[in-house]
Symmetry: C2
Subunit: 166 residues, 2 copies
DNA sequence: AGCATTGAGTTCAATAATGTAACTGACGAT
DNA sequence: ATCGTCAGTTACATTATTGAACTCAATGCT
């Protein structure tokens, strides 16, 4: 009766969630991105319990999203940093933040803004098509069966539908 | 000793996770987007237990991300659909899927592809700056304090750092 | 009419995950 | 010699998730 793993599902969203979908994990990644990487700072910033933070950080290292670096010896002290794959996840986190700004922002306004250094402006992250650069929406994208599709747990019905059967 | 709520945190990512960050919830939203909206179809597709699906669907309705529609009467039968805010979340889910395609894809390749109807091409969702259209990365965005920032649980340390104190 | 089937859930018991709080242990500072 | 900091552990209570069986109303089949 283990918690169901999404790792074997034939769906890239499921596999992503298996790696970073745990409660607290995206917030930890956000903090690492923002430069909050020490154990006690994370505890204070998030209000997460210490034992759970320990487990999450170990899992993030095991999964390759974060790395543990000693920033001093005697006494040995460590901080956590994003790995390459962790940094690559940041834009997706920004997209989730942008949704929160639109649909769940506090009355006081956005707590954190982001500046795009390229153009210097405070920006809204948008999800766009790599081909033409236009914004993607639920209304203008169509799902197609991919090469790795299969009717397994996680996409049993979806795979049938995409294949055109029922 | 309740599960910690992220709803009151002064961070749009935390507030987003409070609404859709539960285990299974993003996969349910994916299925609703793909047109799998009936109770038994969701159970079969995902392999989720029925009582948990009941809870998740009720929560999604309560939070305004999904709606319950009768598609026939006598006998009364229902299906779930994305609301406006739920549809608006789809691009962020696509961004997460794109990350999974890069970092956690099965050997067989992407299970599902998406076509952007505007340009007709199979596309990679990218997160870009609304101002200039360039892709956002962890390296080219800088966090700034926003109007709703506050040193509360969730951003206690981050808010201090952004404000320039330590 | 009698019985199996379908859709949309409930109920129940066992196991896993999370939260709270106190504790450890190696230093360094007063 | 004691206090404080950092980076965790340990123990225990409370929720969550799982798996399986069960309900209930309305048809469809024979």
């Amino acid at each position: 009766m283990e918690k169901t793993s999404f790792a074997q599902m034939r769906c890239s969203l499921a596999r992503t969630l298996d790696l970073v979908g745990d409660w607290w994990t995206p917030l930890i990644l956000r903090d690492l991105f923002l430069g909050v990487g020490r154990f006690d700072d994370l505890v204070e910033d998030l209000g997460i319990s210490r034992n759970l933070l320990t487990r999450r950080l170990k899992a993030l290292q095991a999964r390759g999203l974060a790395e543990r670096h000693a920033y001093q010896t005697r006494p040995a002290r460590f901080e956590y940093r994003l790995s390459e794959s962790g940094r690559d996840l940041v834009p997706a986190l920004l997209a989730l933040m942008a949704w929160g700004d639109r649909w769940a922002a506090p009355a006081e306004g956005s707590p954190i803004l982001f500046r795009h250094d390229g153009c210097g402006q405070t920006c809204l992250p948008r999800v766009t098509c790599s081909g033409c650069g236009e914004p993607l929406t639920a209304a203008n994208v169509t799902a197609l069966p991919g090469p790795g599709g299969a009717a397994r747990d996680g996409t049993r019905v979806v795979a049938r539908r995409l294949a055109g059967q029922r």
